[in-house]
Structure formats: C-alpha cells, structure tokens
Amino acid sequence: MLELDNLTAGYGDFLAVQNVNLRVSAGTVYALLGANGAGKTSTIMTIAGHVGVMNGRVLLDGRDITGLPAHRRTQTGMAVAPEGRRLFADLSVEENLILGGYAHARGEEPQSKQRVYDLFPRLQERATQRAGTLSGGEQQMLAIGRALMAKPLLLMIDELSLGLMPKAVDLCYEALAALKAAGMTILLVEQNTTRALEVADDVCVLESGRIAWSGTSAAARGDSAVLDLCLGMK
C-alpha cells in the first residue's frame, strides 16, 4: 500500500528523515515510534507532501508520488490527522468536515458526513460549534473525521492520544479499531508505546531520522530495546 524507498527529507540543510525504508501493507496498522525529535512528524508530513524530499521515493499503491504537489495527494487516497490537530479553528465543525471532503463531489458530502457522525456522535451534537472551542478530545475526533471525509485508503494519524483524557483516548482507539476492521490502512504515530503496540501489526522506531528498529508488534513487545529507544534512552 505505502512504501518509503530510501527516503531522505528535511528542511533546508537539515535532514529530519534519513534513508528510511518502510512498507505498510493494505489493511494493517503500522506504528511509527521514537523519542521527541526523532522525525516521526517529519516522516508523515513528507508523505503528505509538505516536506522537501532530497532523495528516495514515496510510493502509494506502487505509484511514485514523490513529486506530486500536496494538494493533489488527497486524490491518491491519503489523508492526515496532523500533530496538534491543526483544525480550521474559526470554522464550524461541519465546515471543517465539508473541507475534508473538498476533493470529492458535493453530492457525496451528506453520506461521508453521516459516516463520520456515526463514528463520533459527539461531533454531530457540536456540528455548528466553532472548531477552536471544542475540547481536546473533540478536536482530535474532528481532525480524524476531517481526514476521513477524504475517503482515504491510507489514514495517517500523528500523536493520537497526546494531551487527551483517558476516556477520550479510549474513544479514539475504539474508532481506530472500527476503521481497521473496515479495512482501512493506518499509519500511526503515538507517544503511548503500550497503546500503540496493542493496536499495531508492524512497528518501526526512529532515532535521529533513521530507522533504529523495525519488526512486528509482537516482536516489539518482547524487546526491551524498543521501549528504551522510544524513551530516548539507549
């Protein structure tokens, strides 16, 4: 489904992602772990087309999308719920959702919206509220909902549980399980290693922009080196 082929990317001279190879199979959850500053967000934003690629390729379903402008990537079947959510704060919940589906025909809007509301009934209650005034958990739901409006095959979520109350975290993980059951491919960045390993099929751990460990989540659970890497202690 998604393949990063020897990918190197960064900002100006600074290489935030270096020689990364990874492969996410369709219908699986792939967890991208690592300490602060390891390059997880940079990896996701490179896939989304927001970070300059110096070398290597990004392949989606075998198609090379390395040079594709960011605004055309949603049509290739990817969507992102970014770190910090980055909602359109002054717009209503409903408007945020509508914009998530901007690349699709207007006729599909009601149906897509209903799917999101079924997943997160909370958002329907708040449909006319300004996104910036939602609680942290509701904002994360909206960020995921906005991404789902694009009807992605690959959903990328950066820091799913960061700053959320336990109950909101549970809600988000329930939604994730439901999406996975429905066949969605998910690339997940998560600080909460235990939680991520529960839901993921495959895992890689980044350290200073490079892959320091990769394997199945079962193997990761049995390897104390993974946890040390994620906490930034070698």
Binding site: A48, G49, H50, P69, A70, H71, R72, R73, T74, Q75, A79, V80, P82, R86, L87, F88, A89, D90, L91, E95, I98, L99, G100, Y102, A103, R106, R146, A150
Partner: protein, 286 residues
C-alpha cells in the same frame, strides 16, 4: 438639513473606501503583503470605465469591462510580481509593490496621456430629490452598488464551499492543501475579486468627478492603508465599518475642522488617535 447631507455624502465616500480597502485586507489576510499597487487597479478601473463608456456608450458595459480587466490584471500581478518572492521577508514584497505602483502610474501616463480623461457625455449625472437633499443618480448608484457587491462577497465567503476554502487557506494553509484545496487558485481568486472591486471603486470616482487621471489612486491608497490598519489587518467586517466611519468623519470634519485640518489629513489624525488608544485596531483583540 446639513446634517443629513453630510452624513449621506460621508456614506458615499465611505462605500468607495470600503470597496478599495476590502481587496487590500483580503490580500493581507492571505499573504501578509501590504499590496500598495492595489491602488493602481483603482486607477485602471477609472480609466477603463471612462474610456469604455466613451467608446461604447454603455456605462454598465464599461463597468463589466473595467472589473474584468482589472481582475485579470490582479491575477497577473500576483503571479508575476508576488508569487516569485513569497518566500522572502515581507519588506521585499512591500518594496516590489511600491515599485509596481509607481510603474503603473507612469504606464497610465504613457497610454492615456498626462492630463486625464473625462466622459464626453457623463452618465447618471441627473439629480433626484430625496427628503430635503438633491442627490445625483451616480451617488445613489455608488451606495447601492457597494452594498450589493459587499453583500454578494459576504455570501460567497460565508455560505459557499469556495468561501470556506478561502477561510481555510487563511487559517491553515498546509492543512487546506492536504484537503485538496489548491492555495494558488484561491490566491488568484482573491486577487481577481479584490482588484475587480477596486476597479469598480475607481469607476465610481471617475464617474462622480467625471475625471480619471494617473495619480487618482494615490490618496485612496493611503486612506485604504489607514483603514485596514484601523480595522485590524485582515478583518473584513471591521474594514467595512472603518471605511464607512472614515467617510462620515471626513465629511463632517471638512465642515467643522476644515480650517485646522485638511480633508485628507483627517484620516491620519483619526488613525493616530485610534492607534494610540487601541494599538491593534478598533476591533482588534487584546
């Protein structure tokens, strides 16, 4: 009824300021550029409408032509002048913009001659009684036109997908891209709309004064700058109110302050006072 006279005159003037300032604030909101050359679109509109009215005999047609031509010119200004330097610090674009404005003034001189241009047969110059006043049809058309244009803009911005896309691009350009919104098309559109509105304002001024000349944009340009600073940069609703307020204040000011303060200085006195009291503009937060 001097009071009513002055008030209406102020509103007419304020409508014109609003039409100019809206484009300026839209561009600032989107790109953080003080688009000084915007005033050139105002002058362009003035010239084109006078020229096209004289050539075709139809004032309405000339308005359409002026709006369309200035809109396209606006897109060209964005693509050729601003887009290549967007990644540079804001003063680079500001300098480019001032240079562009000066260049445009000279182009108008070259094309249309240094002495300006008048309608051979000024349209809408008849007057009509309104309470105790006599108003030119042109003045009524300006107010009605400004209200219609600004309302239409408000509907587009607030009610359509395109308007949402524009607001999203202002708020979170990267996420707007990730939603499939082409920021560049949005910028084209903003330059088109802003320039077309400024051109219509220019056409209206050329109509009431029955005169278009190369430097007609200079005074409205700095007043529009004062207005958007007053309103809080990028705030469209505030811009509208500040424009109308300035029109009315100037109109009364010429009578009551005329001896001490020139009409065109009032805008600055007003701006200085407001910024001393509210550094972020009248409607600015904090």
């Amino acid at each position: 009824m001097l009071f009513l006279d002055l008030f209406v005159e102020g509103l007419v003037q304020g409508s014109i300021y609003a039409l100019i300032a809206i484009g300026l604030t839209l561009v600032y909101g989107l790109l953080r550029i003080l688009h000084v050359a915007h005033a050139g679109m105002f002058t362009l509109g003035g010239y084109l409408s006078v020229w096209a009215t004289n050539a075709s005999g139809s004032f309405v047609l000339s308005l359409l032509a002026a709006a369309l031509a200035a809109g396209v010119a606006g897109i060209l200004v964005y693509r050729l002048c601003y887009r290549p330097i967007l990644h540079r610090p804001p003063h680079v674009a500001l300098i480019a913009s001032i240079g562009l404005y000066v260049g445009m003034e000279e182009l108008f001189r070259l094309f249309f001659g240094p002495y300006g241009m008048s309608h051979t047969d000024p349209p809408l110059s008849e007057t009509v009684g309104f309470f105790s006043m006599r108003l030119k049809y042109a003045e009524i058309a300006i107010m009605a036109g400004a209200v219609a244009l600004i309302s239409a803009l408000a509907v587009v911005v607030n009610k359509t997908r395109l308007g949402m896309a524009w607001r999203a691009t202002v708020a979170e350009p990267q996420m707007a891209l990730s939603c499939g919104i082409n920021n560049d098309r949005i910028r084209d559109l903003i330059f088109f709309i802003g320039s077309a509105l400024a051109a219509l304002a220019g056409a209206m001024v050329a109509l009431v004064n029955n005169y278009a000349e190369p430097t007609m944009g200079a005074v409205p340009a700095y007043k529009a700058l004062a207005i958007i600073v007053l309103a809080g940069l990028g705030d469209v609703g505030g811009t509208l109110l500040a424009a109308l307020a300035l029109g009315v204040i100037e109109s009364f000011g010429t009578i009551y302050l005329g001896k001490a303060l020139d009409r065109d200085a009032i805008a600055f006195a007003f701006m200085i006072v407001v910024l001393m009291l509210r550094p972020r503009g009248i409607f600015g937060k904090g």
